[in-house]
Structures are given as C-alpha cells and as structure tokens.
C-alpha cells in the first residue's frame, strides 16, 4: 500500500487543529503519523516469517484555560472519527486541572537541514530482496563455526512520515527511512551455553552489511565459550558500544533532561559550569547528526532540532529542553520533545547523544591495559537509580584483559558503582565511534570500577 502524500498527511493535521479552535480550544496541536514497515524474521536458524505493518494515526493536544487534553485515533479515513478525537481531547482538557506554568505551544521557526535521513531505495525493497539479505547473514553466521546457533534476528525496512500543525502557525512535514539487520546468537559446546550475543546494523540509508553482522554475532558467541569467574576487585573496564548505551540511557541521559533537573531528580542540578566528568569527555546532543537514528528536521512539537552542547572537556554546559520545560526557565526549546508515536504526548528525550571519539584504535586501547574487563553488554541496567546514578549490573558477554591481551570470557561478573563517578574516571576513548540507537560513541575506558566476581 502506498504511503500517504505530504499534502494528505498535513491536511489531516490542519483539519484537526481548525476543528479544535472552532469548538472552543484556546490552542491546538495535531501530530499525524504514518509508518510502513516490512520485516523478514529469523527464528532458530531459519527464515520463517515475514510481515508488513501499516500504522497511521493522529494525536491531538488541545488547551482550555491552561489545562491540557489529548486524544488520538487511528481511524483516519473517516472525518467524523477525527472530529470525535478532537472533541475527546477538548473534553479531557476541560476535565483536567489548569497548569499555571503552561505558556503555550511553540511558534513557527525555520526548519533545520538534515542529511542522509531518507533513502528511496529502502522504500522500494521487496520482501524477496530482504529474504536474500537475511539469508546471507544467517549463512555467514552458521558457516563461521558449527557451535554457533542463530537464535533470532532479521531485516526490517521502514518508511516513516510525520506532520505537526499547531495554532501558532507551525506546519511541518518530514519523512525518513530506517533499515535494520540484526542477529542474536548463542554458542553451545558440551553442555555450556553462552549468553546471547547480539549484533546489528541500523541505518537511515541503505548501507548495511549483513555479512559482517552475521560473522560478528558468531564471533562473539564462540569467544564467549569457556567463561570463567573473576576475582572481586576494582579494575579497568572498557565499556563497548552496547554496554555504554545501556549504562548511560538509564542514568546520565536521564540526568540531563530539563524535566528531571527542574523536578529535583537529577544529580547534575545546579552544576552548569562545573567539572562533572573527565577532561577528555565532550558530549553533544546532536539532533542534526548526519544519518543519525534520531535526526529529524523538527522534534515532537515541531521545534527545529539542533546541536546542543552538554559536556565540554568535562565541564557541564547544558541540558536538553522541550518547549514546556524551556519556557518555565524563560529559555528556548532545544528541540528535544520526543513522541513515542501518535498515541502519546511528547516528553523530553535526548536525540543523538554524541560522545566525541578519541584517537586510539580499540586494539591499542586494550594493548595498554594490564588487567581489566572488556564488556559488550550489561544485564539489569534498567534497575539503575536514575536520580543518584547508582548501578549494580551483570557484565555479559564480557572478557578478561590481561597484559594487553584478551585472555578469556568471563561469567557472572557484576559491576557496581555510580555513573557520575564513572564519567569522572574515564581515562581513554577509542576511535571506533558507532550509532547505537540514541547513543553515538566509541569504546570508553573507565578506571577503578568495582567488579564483584565470586
């Protein structure tokens, strides 16, 4: 089924806003969304499923006497259904309580320029082509080593489009593409099963390497065999990409949201201009990063996305804002209102949380470590304390580093500490930057992490 045209999706949103104002809303904003996704799934060593999902909908926020109401519908073919959603939104606003700090929806601003966020080739991929790519990935993984068992994975291609219209003159449309190929494997040998080893490529343009994903997922699994326990002691830990994403997304990324700061949930509150991290750490929230997984012309409220400095050479420079949290402080939104989809209201989120890379290759980084761990993934990171930054997680898969070499896989090692200490203890950054959902970063070496082994 063909995608809706730009004008069609914009006019849906415009009609909703117009109707809301007609029915007495003080302000109104409509978000129209369309997502078309084709996937081919691998399950237990074979491609056995394929799907096509079409999801469209409209979310409408209305304001009545400073109280905000919201409603959504996915029935877009029927004018009456959209009008009903508008009325429900208004009814919710009237039932709700006024918010004295409400200062309106954002105003119109020129949209940002973005690069490599849309690729027509992704829209045109047939399911047969996806099957072929998935099958290549699977074959490579299985050929690598017969102890490898591909558990699940696949290829998915999506086209997403969205429009935001509000009563302050914002009328914006953007569309983009995403393609993902992923594989999760385990290796099995004489009764031992490794933890899941996951690898993927996720890009905005058609530039994925299924062979590499297959080979790398298989390599990680086989090298996770014969895992041994480690001693309990503090040591150097290299957080590889996924582990870093897991560690930071429940802690540091929470702490830099204006909403967390304003509501006393952030340990970084009041620390702008202070040194909060190692000198070598520089971080931007970059909503315009070329080909970034969260790069769009505008955010969930129609505000242009931007590049916002967060930490420069260890010094805290700023937080990320949506329109509401920004106006509360008399500031401008940084374009960080995020929508999980049309059924929800926007909230503050990072876009592409970009940690500037260093100069050493990963091999050089490992080569200089006398004793430490290389950690690919963490289990239980979501149970971290977002306010204090405390974490207590399992490193898996992980490998021991001794005298500059990776010696063996490690099992059951827990890492405990505080993320705000950890960012002060960053001593090296590798040059192997990668995009992992909202994180763009290299491998990071942290000194003196408490490892609980046995």
């Amino acid at each position: 089924m063909a995608a809706l045209k730009d004008e069609e999706i914009i006019s849906l949103a415009e009609a909703a806003v117009k109707y809301a104002l007609k029915k007495g809303a003080d302000e109104a904003e409509a978000f129209a969304y369309e997502g078309l996704t084709t996937t081919v799934a691998i399950e237990r060593r074979q491609i056995s499923k394929s799907s096509r999902i079409i999801d469209r909908g409209l979310g409408i926020r209305t304001v009545f006497k400073k109280a905000v109401g919201f409603s959504y519908t996915n029935i877009l073919t029927d004018k009456a259904a959209i009008e009903e959603a508008v009325l429900k939104s208004l009814k919710s606003a009237k039932a709700s309580r006024p918010d004295k700090e409400w200062q309106g929806f954002p105003c119109k601003k020129p949209l940002a320029d973005v690069k490599n966020t849309f690729d027509k080739r992704i829209c045109d991929l047939s399911s047969e082509e996806l099957v072929k790519a998935a099958s290549t990935m699977l074959e490579v993984a299985e050929k690598t080593d017969k102890r490898v068992f591909p558990v699940e994975g696949g290829i998915g291609a999506s086209y997403l489009s969205k429009a935001i219209v509000n009563s302050n003159g914002v009328t914006s449309f953007d569309c983009g593409t995403l393609i993902e190929c992923s594989l999760a494997t385990v290796a099995q040998e004489s009764g031992e099963v490794t933890p899941i080893c996951f690898e993927f490529n996720l890009e905005r343009i058609y530039k994925i390497d299924p062979e590499w994903v297959g080979a790398e997922a298989a390599r990680q699994a086989t090298s996770s065999l014969k895992a041994r326990r480690v001693e309990t002691k503090s040591m150097k830990v290299v957080f590889a990409h996924f582990a870093l994403q897991q560690l930071l997304c429940y802690t540091l990324m929470e702490a830099i949201k204006a909403d967390s700061v304003q509501r006393n949930q952030s340990a970084l509150k009041g620390k702008i201009g202070e040194k909060v991290a190692s000198d070598i750490l520089t971080v931007y929230d970059d909503g315009l990063l070329e080909g970034g997984l969260r790069t769009w012309k505008f955010d969930g409220e129609g505000v242009p996305q931007q590049k916002t400095p967060i930490i420069r050479k260890g010094v805290l420079e700023g937080f990320v804002y949506d329109n509401y949290s920004a106006r509360k402080e008399g500031k401008e939104s940084t374009g960080n209102a995020f929508r999980a989809g049309y059924p929800s209201t926007p909230k503050v989120e990072v876009t592409n949380f970009h940690i500037a890379p260093g100069e050493k290759s990963p091999e050089e980084l490992i080569g200089e470590i006398d004793e430490g761990l290389l950690v690919y993934s963490l289990q239980g990171a979501h149970s971290s304390n977002p306010a204090s930054g405390e974490f207590s997680v399992v490193a898996t898969p992980a490998w021991k580093i001794e005298k500059g070499r990776i010696t063996h896989a490690v099992k059951g090692a827990m890492l405990a500490g505080n993320v705000f200490d950890a960012i002060k203890n960053v001593s090296e950054l590798a040059n192997n930057e990668r995009k992992i959902w909202q994180l763009v970063a290299p491998w990071v070496l942290v000194e003196n992490v408490k490892v609980i082994g046995k």
Binding site: F149, P195, A416
Partner: protein
C-alpha cells in the same frame, strides 16, 4: 457483519492463496491515560484505535499483516500482502512450521467489572491519581517528586481462524505506576510501585490512594538512611515481590518454549531435577481478576494453570501451537499479542512459586548475617541462565533479626544453581502486577511466598 468480512478474507487466504492455516484478530480498543507530575496533571488523554492482524501459514512459513482498519478492501489487500509475505519467507525454509491441533471454539467472553473504567468519569480518575500524589508529597519534606502514569484499556478482540474458531473477548485492564524520588544532602533515592487488574476500577477500593501513596513514599524516605550492602556471597531471604521477579525473569523466560528451543539452559532438562525439592512453580492464566489473566489466548486456545516445576523437577513449558507441535504436547494458552500491530508470541501470565510451610520468623532466625530483599526494582535474565535482580527495598539480617535498610543492592547468579539453593519456602503468598517486555509489552503478575536462599551473589554499592 464484521464476522462475515473476516470469514470472507480467511476463505480467500485458503482458497485463492493456498494457505494451510489463516487467522485474523480484529480489535477495537479504548484507552484513557493520565500523567501526573507532583500535583499537576500533565495531560489527560483518551484515545481509540482499531485494526486487524492477519497471520497466515503458506508453504510452512508465516506471513503477517497489520492494518488499522476493518474496511473490506483494506482487509482484502492485507490478506494478499500476508500471503505474499509468507511465500517470500518460505523461499529458504528448512523446516516447515506446523501447528498442533486445537479444538475449534465458538465463544463470547464478557468483562464483568464491578466498576467499569469506561463508565467512570475521567474527573474521578484524575481525582484518584491526584490523591495518591498528595499522599506521597505530604508524607515527608524530603520527597522531591512524584510521577504517576495511569492507564485503562477496554475494548473487544475478535479472533477467527480457518479451523472454525470464532471468539469475541472483551478486554479490560486498569493499571497505574507511581514513581517517587527523595533527596537528602547528596543522597538520592527512588521508589516505584505498579498496580494492575483485569477486574475493574474497584482495584482502588482496596489499593486506596492513601495505602499506595504511603507505601511508595515511605520506601523512598527509608532508603535515605540506608547503607550500601557489602558485595559478595550471602544467605538471603526474598519477599514475595522479589521471588516473583526471580521466578519470572530468571526461570520463566527460560521455560517459554520458543526460548527453550533457542538453546536456553532448560533445553534438555524436561523431566529432570533443576531445583531443590521445595520449589514448585506455576504459570497460571486463570487467576480471577489478576493482571495476567484471560480466558483465551491470541491463538484461540483456552488459558490454563500450567505446572512448570513440581517439587524441583521441570514438568512443563509454556507453549503456543507451533512449539507444542515440536514438543509433541498440548498448547498451554500462552500465545499473546500486545495489540493488532503485532503477532502473538509466547508470553507468561501469572507466574509464581507455590507456598509451603515456613513462617517469616523461621526463615530469618537461622541467618547469622545476610539480607532480606523485600521489593524489586527490575530484573533481567539471559538464555545461559545468568540473572540479575535489582532491589529497591532491602535490609540486613543480623543474628536472625531484621537490621538496617540497604540501598542499591542487586542479586545475580545462575538460575538453576540458585534454584537448588532455595532451602526454605514460606507459607504466605502475594501476587504483584507488572509489565513484561519481549519486543512487545504483556501485562502479567508474578509472586510467591517468602523464601530463603542459602547463598547468592549480592552486588553492593560503590
């Protein structure tokens, strides 16, 4: 009329496209959501969504299509798309998928709430959630924030397959999550709690705003004076809430037959002893009003009480029709889909350890030094049986008595080794609602009695 359309498209799948099996789920769902921050309503939200999911088996491979409409032309396109997808997927198939037989059922299941959330005015829901926030914020000046998310969902799900099953089921869920933070000097603590029911809005008659608010707030404040635990191996007593997440995360996922087949450590353990003989574990879809209960799963199979471990021996797994065929057994009614946008996969329902005979005092009296972990913060497990459970409320046990609170603790280990170390099981019992993520979200409960584990790795603070 919808029934006729559904019938027509399933016929088309079988007759025109040669499908071995076809099913359709048509759903219309109404949701009310609230987000409360401190004593402020961020937004009051009401929405409607409808759509159809088609799942079709052609040449031994699955094709799936989801559309947000019941319009006949859209559904005809979707069925053709699903069949085309299945054929593409079958190109490289090694082992064709087969389904175990399942009895054709015709039924209509009505939700029977005492208080119907769809008839409860949104003003009342705002009032209830604000009352929770008020209780929390009045509890102590060190409480800094309170976030409450509320959701109720009502609607209808119609399931039809090409084997003669047609089930109309009313859905009803009421859920809330309260998240509270407290701060004193440089110490930040937080506490969270979830409520969930398939019975109705009457859940708030038992879990009143005051009860819930006090419980969550007190926990956040108590932690301010807590110390960080020592890292290392200790005996622990786990409360029903932590036992629940342990049973769910550490064991339950391994016993989901799709994950078992993927090489989980239970793969060759059916009929074997994997736990101490005091351990008995169920996954039960029939607990009345519980958050993980329903009458039929999303393959039209009746939910049941499934025994997973009996006196330490693995006796069953959780199945859908596909895995049941592979294991040559019966489906257990564990195939669940979050909504019409996704396909059914094997999910837990209400998962718990069965109680035995110890009192709480008996469980702790012999512990010289250890920990009592009462409430969890999160948990996760891996196919190799490595689990981690973060603890939001814990205490030291010193010489058989409950001592100082501890903060930021977690336990970890290997599931099977840990199940063998369960040396005493209490006689109390609680079920706690929660949400489980496996690519899609499922509403579940988990729980059990208090238990004692002779030793487990405790991850301490920095």
């Amino acid at each position: 009329m919808l029934k006729d359309t559904l019938n027509k498209i399933l016929d088309m799948a079988v007759q025109k496209f040669g499908a071995e099996y076809a099913e359709v789920r048509a759903q219309k769902l109404f949701k009310t959501m609230l987000t409360i921050k401190e004593e402020k309503v961020e937004a009051a939200k009401e929405g409607v969504e409808n759509g159809a999911a088609l799942r079709i088996l052609v040449n031994g491979a699955w094709g799936f299509a989801s559309v947000g409409s019941f319009d006949s032309e859209t559904l005809v396109n979707a069925v053709s798309s699903a069949c085309k997808m299945a054929k593409a997927a079958s190109l490289k198939l090694k082992n064709p998928i087969k389904l175990v037989e399942s009895k054709a059922i015709e039924d209509r299941v009505l939700a029977k709430p005492r208080k119907d959330p769809s008839k409860t005015p949104i003003e009342d829901k705002i009032g209830t959630t604000l009352a929770i926030a008020k209780t929390v914020l009045r509890h102590d000046s060190r409480i800094k924030s309170c976030t409450i998310d509320y959701l109720d969902l009502v609607g209808t799900s119609c399931f039809m397959n090409s084997e003669g099953t047609y089930i109309e089921q009313e859905k009803l869920y009421v859920w809330a999550r309260i998240f509270v933070t407290a701060k004193e000097k440089d110490i930040f603590t937080f506490s969270r709690e979830e409520l969930g029911s398939t019975a109705g809005y009457e859940i708030f008659d038992v879990e009143t705003p005051e009860t819930v608010g006090e419980r969550v707030a007190k926990r956040a404040v108590d932690q301010l004076r807590a110390k960080t635990p020592k890292g290392g191996t200790f005996p622990v007593v786990l409360g029903p809430n932590v036992v629940g997440v342990f049973v769910h995360e550490a064991f339950g996922h391994l016993a989901e037959a799709d994950l078992t087949l993927s090489g989980s450590v239970l793969m060759d353990k059916l009929g074997r002893k994997v736990a101490s003989e005091v351990v008995t574990i169920y996954d039960d879809g029939t607990v009345e009003g519980a958050f993980g209960s329903f009458k039929y799963d999303d393959e039209g199979v009746p939910a049941q009480k499934t025994l997973l471990i009996k006196d330490g021996v693995v006796v069953g797994l959780m199945h859908n029709r596909e895995t049941a065929q592979k294991f040559n057994t019966q489906p257990t009614g564990n195939a669940r889909a979050e909504d019409f946008r996704v396909e059914p996969i094997i999910r837990m329902r209400n998962t718990f350890m069965a109680p035995r005979d110890y009192s709480f005092e008996e469980l702790i009296e012999d512990v010289k030094f250890g920990y009592y972990f009462k409430s969890f913060r999160g948990g996760q497990a891996n196919l190799d049986g490595t689990f981690q459970v973060g603890v939001q409320e814990g205490y030291e046990i010193v010489k058989g008595e409950i001592g100082m609170p501890v903060r930021n603790a977690s336990i970890s280990g290997n599931t099977l080794e840990t199940l063998h170390k369960v040396d005493a099981v209490g006689r109390d019992f609680e079920l706690w609602p929660g949400r489980c993520g496996k690519g899609q979200t499922a509403f579940v409960c988990d729980g059990g009695p208090h238990i004692r584990v002779s030793e487990v790795l405790v991850g301490g603070g920095a």
